[in-house]
Amino acid sequence: MKGFLGVDVGSVSTNIVVINENGEVLAEKYLRTNGRPIEVVQEGIHEVGRELNGEVEIASAGTTGSARFLASMIIGADVVKNEITAHAVAASAVVPGVRTIIEIGGQDSKIIILRDGVVTDFAMNTVCAAGTGSFLDQQASRLLIPIEEFGNYALKSKNPVRIAGRCAVFAESDMIHKQQLGYNIEDIIAGLCEALVRNYMNNVGKGKEILEPVIFQGGVAANAGLVQAFNKYLNTKVTVPPHFAVMGAIGAALLAKEAYAKKKGTNFKGFNLRDIKFVTNSFECKGCSNACEVVQFFQNGELLARWGDRCGKWELQTA
């Protein structure tokens, strides 16, 4: 059977999927990047290969995410795409005609607006933590509640407490304050979810025209409390797709499939990536006072790529 591989490497999570020719997911992995993208991708691909048990042959591969370039060097990708396009492609496949995509991951969040199947506007937040999954993680551990339970608590709330959500630091101190005033935990958690949604809408969603259908994806979409808070805020019912946590990777796989339709053949290095030795090192260029930190990428001792130079001086012409 033919399969298409998609890999999404971000700073928090690394997601890997394989889809078949109908776009159905054959394998899916959601892993923590933990600052070791190379090992995580190698291991993840290996595991996916084992799960597929030799029954799937990768016809084409795509990467996305903030480390998409590095990932493409590791796996041998045929397509390298930014995460906005990848998410839009994946969401459009799940809900054709989707007009708004809310994506909240561990480290960043985005909004993508589509009309007639085409992206017409988008925004990304990579600066403020108050709108991302790591914020919820932190608060969950502060409250000693497993993050998986967060949503259920929120759903039990009858009367969410209003929590100042402008920024992560304020939200935290306001939450402590509300706890000390004796509000119950369900209402505080529901209040946190609402604060996060308000924050998201005021930052990322600022000035955007949000029309139905709305898709909510990214790791944070697992949280039923947030889904409810979005429904309430937007006065609609947001759709959480089945593979909400790995939509970027699905998008990369779909783009790989598209590329395959145009041009057969793949650069994919195979599932046995573990056997290849990848090393990166870096040096400070002394060519000018920019002092760029240039990264070199080696495969089995052979220099494959360099990046990080401002001027293109260290660029390698890779085939």
Partner: protein, 330 residues
């Protein structure tokens, strides 16, 4: 002969050919700082009062890098370059107005600062008197300065003509001042055209905008900026707004953006905004609203000292993808 230092930022991108020609015609040597580098940025961030916008910090960095190399620092007080009787009454933003003072206070060991006030609204002959004043500080006679001014004006006119033809400032300067050959660029017939608007010191400084124009050029996208438009065109746009927004460079970005929004051949608009710039908060919102009204894709890229290359690249790539899909659909 004196060595006159010119920082490679702010007004540099529009007026360097004029002043270089002027000073050299008077027999002086012009020392320009290198294009912005990490070292210059770091120097600037270190030296400047904390609440300054990033372009002003960078300016300080350039001044710092020139201090030991020059006898005079050319840091005029730019008030207005609107000609006498011309439409519009705006001035440069307050930080430009106070720039010589900022520099003097920050760099106590700086060489003498040529802080001549440049306010062309004052009268028809104002530019000439400014030149005479600048020349006199360097020991040149009025006659010499007037002759040099005339020559500089000619060069400036040629420079503007090159910009109007679509040449980017760094290249136009190379052509004009160093006799470089214009590079020939090929654009695919179905390629995209994008208007990039913003302060010259934001859009033409590849260090601070992490090579944004280069990213577009690599995609073989045709780039337009407000500086390729004549004053006449920009002034026409000004009349469409109920009110002028006071600051010269901000207005140029707004008028340029408004002009390109109405052009069918422009696929999208990118506004490069400077972090901690007061005027930009308004400029960006205004452009965004107008772009929506004209149904023109709009992307705003904010730059600061920590701007990461990858964040900008992701946005640019996504924007370009979006424009391509849009075009394929049409």
């Amino acid at each position: 002969m004196a060595r006159v230092g010119i920082p490679h930022t702010l007004a540099y991108f529009l007026y360097y050919p004029f002043w270089k020609t002027f000073f050299e015609a008077l027999g002086h040597q012009v020392v320009v700082s290198s294009p912005t580098t990490r070292e210059i940025l770091d120097l600037g961030v270190e030296e400047t009062v904390n609440d300054a916008c990033i372009p002003i910090k960078i300016y300080h960095g350039h001044v710092a890098s020139l201090i030991d190399k020059v006898d005079y620092m050319f840091c005029p007080r730019l008030v207005s370059v609107r000609l006498h009787g011309d439409f519009g009454s705006e001035t440069f933003c307050p930080k430009f107005l106070g720039l010589p003072d900022l520099i003097r206070l920050t760099f106590t060991k700086a060489p003498p600062i040529i802080d001549t006030r440049i306010d062309l609204k004052k009268g028809k002959k104002e530019l000439e008197s400014i030149c005479v004043e600048v020349g006199s500080r360097l020991g040149n006679s009025s006659q010499e300065s007037q002759a040099a001014c005339k020559k500089a004006r000619q060069v400036h006119r040629q420079y503007l003509a090159l910009l109007r033809q679509g040449t980017m400032p760094p290249e136009a300067m190379e052509i004009l001042l160093n006799g470089a050959k214009p590079a020939s660029r090929e654009f695919p017939p179905d390629g995209l055209s994008i208007a990039v608007v913003g302060y010259p010191y934001a859009i033409y400084d590849p260090y601070i905008n992490v090579g944004l124009l280069n990213m577009l050029a690599r995609e073989k996208i045709k780039i337009y900026t407000q500086d390729m438009l004549s004053d006449k065109i920009l002034n026409r746009e000004a009349r469409e707004l109920p009110k002028s927004m006071f600051w010269y460079f901000s207005n140029r970005a707004v008028y340029g953006g408004l002009y390109y929004m109405k052009k069918a051949n422009i696929d999208g608009i990118i506004h490069v905004t400077a972090f901690a710039c007061g005027p930009d908060a308004m400029v960006d919102r205004l452009l965004e609203i107008e772009a929506r009204r004209h149904n023109k894709p709009y992307l705003s890229i904010s730059i600061d000292e920590h701007t990461g290359e990858s964040g900008v690249r992701t946005r640019i790539e996504a924007f370009v993808d979006m424009l391509r899909y849009r075009r394929d659909k049409a």
